[in-house]
C-alpha cells in the first residue's frame, strides 16, 4: 500500500516547482502557469489527507472543490488582466509593466 508520505512528497515537489516558476519567469502568463501548479499541489495535499484521515469527514473533498472554483476564477480574471495590459503596452514581460515604480 502507498504510505501517506509519498503523496505529501509529491505535493511538496509540485509546490516547489510551481514556486520556482512564479519567481523566475519573465512572461506574466508563465507566472500564472506556476500559480496553477501550486494550486494543484495544494489540492493533492487536501485530498490525500482526506483519504488517509477520517473518511466520513468530507471537508477535504469540499475544500478541494472550492479550490477548483477559486483557481478557475483567478485564472479567468488574471488572464483577462494580462490581455488588457497587452493591448495597452504591447508587452507581457512582467519586468516591463512598471508604470507605478518611480
Amino acid at each position: 500500500m502507498i504510505p501517506l508520505s509519498w503523496y505529501l512528497i509529491l505535493s511538496a515537489g509540485l509546490f516547489s516547482i510551481g514556486l520556482f516558476g512564479v519567481l523566475s519567469r519573465r512572461n506574466a502568463v508563465a507566472i500564472l502557469l506556476g500559480v496553477e501548479l501550486m494550486l494543484n499541489a495544494v489540492n493533492v495535499n487536501l485530498v490525500a489527507f482526506w483519504r488517509y484521515g477520517d473518511l466520513a469527514q468530507m471537508a477535504g473533498q469540499v475544500f478541494a472543490i472550492i479550490v477548483f472554483a477559486v483557481a478557475a476564477a483567478e485564472v479567468a480574471v488574471g488572464l483577462a488582466l494580462i490581455i488588457s495590459v497587452y493591448r495597452r503596452r504591447n508587452t507581457v514581460v512582467a519586468n516591463d509593466i512598471d508604470l507605478m515604480k518611480w
Binding site: 508520505s5 505529501l8 509529491l10 523566475s24 502568463v29 501548479l37 483519504r51 478557475a72 497587452y86
Partner: protein
C-alpha cells in the same frame, strides 16, 4: 511492490517531470501543453486516492477550460510565432534556491510528524463518496455557505473577466 505503488511511481515521475518542463520550457505553448500533462497526472493521483469524482472534475475544469484559456491567452499576447527572448529572470537562481529550500523545509517538517508514514484505511463497503459529497455541499450544517459563496465568486469573476477583456471599438 504492488501494482498500485508502481502506478503511483510512474504517474508521480511523469507529473513532476511535466511540471519541470512547464517552468523551464522556452516555447510558451509547449509550456501550456506540458501543464495539460501535469494536470492529467494529478487527475490520476486523485483516482488512486479513491476520489473519482474529483478526478473527472479536474479533467473537465482544469484541462477542458483552464488549460484552453491559457493557450488562448498565450496566442493572443505574442508578437510573433517564435519566442526568441529569454524566458528566465535575471535572478532565476534565487528562485531555484528558494524552491529547493522550500521543498527541503517541507520535507524536514513533515518527517518529524508521527503520522507521516500512515497507510490508508480501507474504504468501508458501500461507501458512496459522491452521495456524501453532494450531501456535504448542500447540507446547512455542512458546507452550503462556502458553496454558495464560491458560486458568487465565480459570478464576479465571470463579470470581471468579460468587462476587463471587452474590446470596445
Amino acid at each position: 511492490m504492488t501494482a498500485q505503488q508502481i502506478i503511483f511511481l510512474v504517474v508521480g515521475f511523469v507529473t513532476l517531470g511535466s511540471a519541470l518542463m512547464v517552468v523551464t520550457s522556452h516555447n510558451l505553448i509547449h509550456a501550456a501543453l506540458w501543464l495539460v500533462s501535469t494536470l492529467f497526472g494529478v487527475a490520476i493521483i486523485y483516482t488512486l486516492l479513491n476520489a473519482g469524482f474529483l478526478a473527472v472534475v479536474q479533467v473537465v475544469v482544469y484541462i477542458g477550460a483552464i488549460a484552453i484559456l491559457f493557450i488562448f491567452a498565450v496566442m493572443l499576447t505574442r508578437k510573433d510565432m517564435r519566442d526568441q527572448s529569454p524566458q528566465l529572470n535575471k535572478n532565476w537562481w534565487v528562485g531555484a534556491l528558494l524552491a529547493v529550500v522550500t521543498f527541503g523545509g517541507l520535507f524536514f517538517l513533515l518527517q518529524s510528524w508521527s503520522g507521516f508514514s500512515r497507510t490508508a484505511a480501507d474504504l468501508p463497503s458501500g461507501f458512496d463518496a459522491i452521495g456524501r459529497l453532494g450531501e456535504a455541499l448542500v447540507s446547512p450544517d455542512a458546507f452550503v455557505l462556502p458553496f454558495e459563496v464560491a458560486s458568487v465568486l465565480l459570478m464576479a469573476a465571470l463579470v470581471g473577466a468579460v468587462y476587463l477583456a471587452f474590446n470596445r471599438k
